[in-house]
Amino acid sequence: MQSARLAYLVRRYHDKICTPAEEAELMALLRSEATGEEMDALLEELMEEHSPEAAMDAAEQEAAFSRFWSKTRPPKLRRLLGWSAAAAVLALAVIASYQLFRAPEAVKPPVADIAPGTHKALLTLSDGSTIALDSAGNQLLQQGAATIQQKGGLLEYTATAENSAIQYNTLRTPRGGQFSIRLPDGTRVWLNAASSLRYPASFADTREVEITGEAYFEVARNEQAPFIVKMPGEAAVEVLGTHFNISAYEDGGDMAATLTEGSVRVKRPQASVVLKVNEQALIGKNETFITVNKTADIAQVLAWKNGVFNFDNQSFAEVMRQLSRWYDVDVVYKGAVPVKKFGGELQRSLSLSQVLEVMKEMKIDVRLEENRKLVVMP
């Protein structure tokens, strides 16, 4: 009897549908019960069902490997490392005392505030040459059969002749930058920070572009030439003419395509779905299928384009990733990543220190340090 109840509770715990009372009951059972073979079989089944969701990003994974690897090193080497660490501490102490005695006024200056992102991007032409774009620029360029006009934060392509060889250009935003572009067919694309769009300077029969990071598309209708957006991991969105947002950051969670107008087909090698308005396709990195979210939070998806952060229901790590991209800072966790959900909206026009001020209100200790480091205290 007892073990059937345990199995029931463990399953519910795995599915994340335990009530607090059930969770307390499970804890008590785990403490008291000699869990034997049954528990082993149960875990085996749960492992089979489990699809990884909370993947670490590359940096965290690397840190985890280093932690493991350092434990496997022979003690001799570790002693050596110990010595060099001691030497480093000593050196620091010497420098510190020197500073202390030499310059009483040398109190560590407060780290300067960081301004929000602006319109900036890097345009790479088909010959490999690059042009830095910022909001002040207004320039006219020629690229094969296309004329390129920059008007502040917008780049406009006009096809002037047809049937020339296709030349690919790439528009790339850095962290702390965003930009928008009008392609030769009239399609508008808004690029969020740390993103890129590769596209032909003039379109032929098919319209095909590639994206990394995040972008919002307003595709000009053309029944004869479908518009295809390729994403990392051989995923793609195929449309005739609609409005949609794609989020495909390598360091983020699931890739997502969200439809705000018309209809689109979302594909990956082993799956394909057609989205209706306000639906979102989630393309998990560790799975082959596509999950359709019928009640996507459109306001949240489009928040970035409308100049706000929308943190409703976002994980701590996701919030920090967004700040990292918009303020061009590196996030450093002093302890574990806090398990905390957020809510609310913030203007993207705030300076970083203003954002941190708000976080302080939420009892989150995040400090801006030198070299654009955002340090999350445990």
């Binding site: 785990l30 089979e48 909370a54 434990k71 799975e287 299928f289 398990v339 959900k341 957020f342 939420m362």
Partner: protein, 198 residues
């Protein structure tokens, strides 16, 4: 995890010699899954990291035996089960320690409140289940409400064990997504943010 493709003798030899590149490969192949599963079952990032660390240390200590292991994935699965179970027990003990330290919190919600919460959750879950395709729903109900094993479900429905597993994965993912969207957890956080910048 049970996929055995890509296990070659050169790799196993590299592991037995303790080569960094071989362990890196082991890490990148198994770490994401183990960490994710341990995180789910212990509910704690720190515990999950400990579990992962212990497993890889164990693999390191037994590296000499790895070339002789018939089924590396199965071997790692067994290690994972053992260590995750230990992690869960540790979680249970830590939770009781926490309750001792904070007696005022351990009282929990009043019984009626808890019952209401329970009803809400069951209703949400029921709604999430209704939205699943038929076969997924059936598999989920058999597993979670009747407590049947994968094997038993497969026999009852005349489908393969593998298919049962796939249905369960899809069902769990859909249910989690639905619950995430319909639970009202972050409301408090929202309230504390809005007055500042509205």
């Amino acid at each position: 995890m049970e996929d055995q493709t890509g296990i070659d003798t050169a790799w196993l030899t590299g592991l037995s010699r303790g080569e960094e590149s071989a362990f890196r490969r082991l890490f990148s192949q198994y770490h994401p899954f183990i960490y994710s599963f341990a995180l789910r079952m212990t509910g704690s990032d720190a515990l999950a990291k400990d579990v992962v660390q212990e497993i890889f240390i164990k693999l390191w200590l037994h590296r000499g035996e790895l070339p002789g292991v018939q089924n590396l994935g199965g071997y790692i699965n067994r290690l994972t089960r053992n260590h995750v179970l230990n992690g869960m027990k540790r979680m249970a003990h830590e939770s009781s320690l926490l309750q001792d330290l904070q007696p005022q919190l351990s009282a929990g919600p009043a019984p009626t409140e808890a019952r209401a919460e329970h009803r809400d959750l069951e209703m949400l879950l029921d709604e999430a289940l209704r939205r699943l395709p038929g076969q997924q729903q059936r598999v989920y109900r058999m597993s979670r409400m009747e407590g049947l094993k994968h094997e038993e479900i497969a026999t009852a429905l005349g489908i393969s064990r593998e298919t049962v597993k796939k249905h369960m994965m899809a069902a769990l993912q859909a249910i989690r997504l639905y619950l995430r969207q319909h639970s009202d957890m972050p409301v408090a956080a929202l309230l504390c943010l809005l007055p500042l910048f509205s």
